[in-house]
């Protein structure tokens, strides 16, 4: 029986990226981060979940912290310590209401057409796909921490 090659474990790394809050810039930042993760050695499942979680979290910063402004600065730090990825977002926009992360709507399928929500899915999905989600406001800055591990990404 031939020996299979040792499982490649992505190394511990950290990188930081800065983006403006416009949707197009956010899209480009997400693409760059996923590219980096692929290069580091994370597979498709990891990248798919990171792509989605980042899109949701960054869209929330853009829409709510920066209220749709195009030139709000968002700092993104990604730390990999396999099998975990930690993402930290920092922005200088408005604080979260009540200093808390919204729960998001749990999906319900018993609603009539007119009542179907067109939003609120974002935080729900982030919560499902992360092991840890934390927010703090410090010195005029929002700091959001998201941790994904191999168990949390399986939910996707």
């Amino acid at each position: 029986m031939s020996r299979s090659p040792p499982l490649a474990v992505p190394p511990e790394t950290q990188f930081t990226l800065r983006t403006f809050s416009s949707p197009i810039r956010v899209r480009a930042a997400i693409e760059k981060i996923c590219l980096n993760l692929r290069e580091i050695g994370f597979d498709g499942q990891w990248c798919s979940v990171v792509e989605l979680v980042l899109a949701e979290a960054l869209n929330n910063v853009a829409e709510h912290a920066y209220r749709g402004a195009s030139y709000g600065v968002i700092n993104i730090t990604v730390t990999t310590s396999a099998p975990e990825i930690r993402i930290e977002l920092r922005d200088r926009g408005h604080p979260m209401p009540n200093g808390q992360i919204p729960t998001g709507y749990p999906p319900r399928t018993d609603m009539s057409l007119e009542d179907l929500p067109e939003g609120g899915f974002g935080w729900f999905m982030i919560r499902r796909l992360t092991r840890l989600l934390a927010y703090e406001r410090c010195d005029g800055e929002n700091h959001l921490i998201l941790c994904l591990d191999s168990k949390s990404i399986e939910k996707f």
């Binding site: 949707p23 197009i24 956010v26 899209r27 798919s48 792509e51 989605l52 899109a55 949701e56 869209n59 853009a62 829409e63 999906p107 319900r108 399928t109 009539s112 057409l113 007119e114 179907l116 929500p117 067109e118 939003g119 609120g120 899915f121 974002g122 729900f124 999905m125 499902r128 796909l129 939910k155 996707f156």
Partner: protein
Amino acid sequence: MELVKHSDADRTIIQVVASRIDAAGSIRFKDLMRDEVLNASGTVLVDLSAVNFVDSSGLGAIVAVRKMIGADRDMELAGLTPNVEKVFRLTRMDKVFKIHETPSVTVPTEGL
């Protein structure tokens, strides 16, 4: 993003020619779909086989389109790629929309 529309006997098939329906493109998606949907009759089938990413903005836009079509007509989806299907399943929107398994919808070849 572009939309390609075909009609057959009882339905309108709209192919979404875009790789993403996300925050950067959801407004355009809604605007383009609004034009197509208001001029169509019968069931609207949206072919998403070119789309490999939908986030909550995209999902919200798809729900908005469903509302535009109104309760009197059906809206169905086809060709959901794996990541898109997962988002629908995660949010239980796969129970709200009729989703066809076939990866792409047969469209007439003439005129293409």
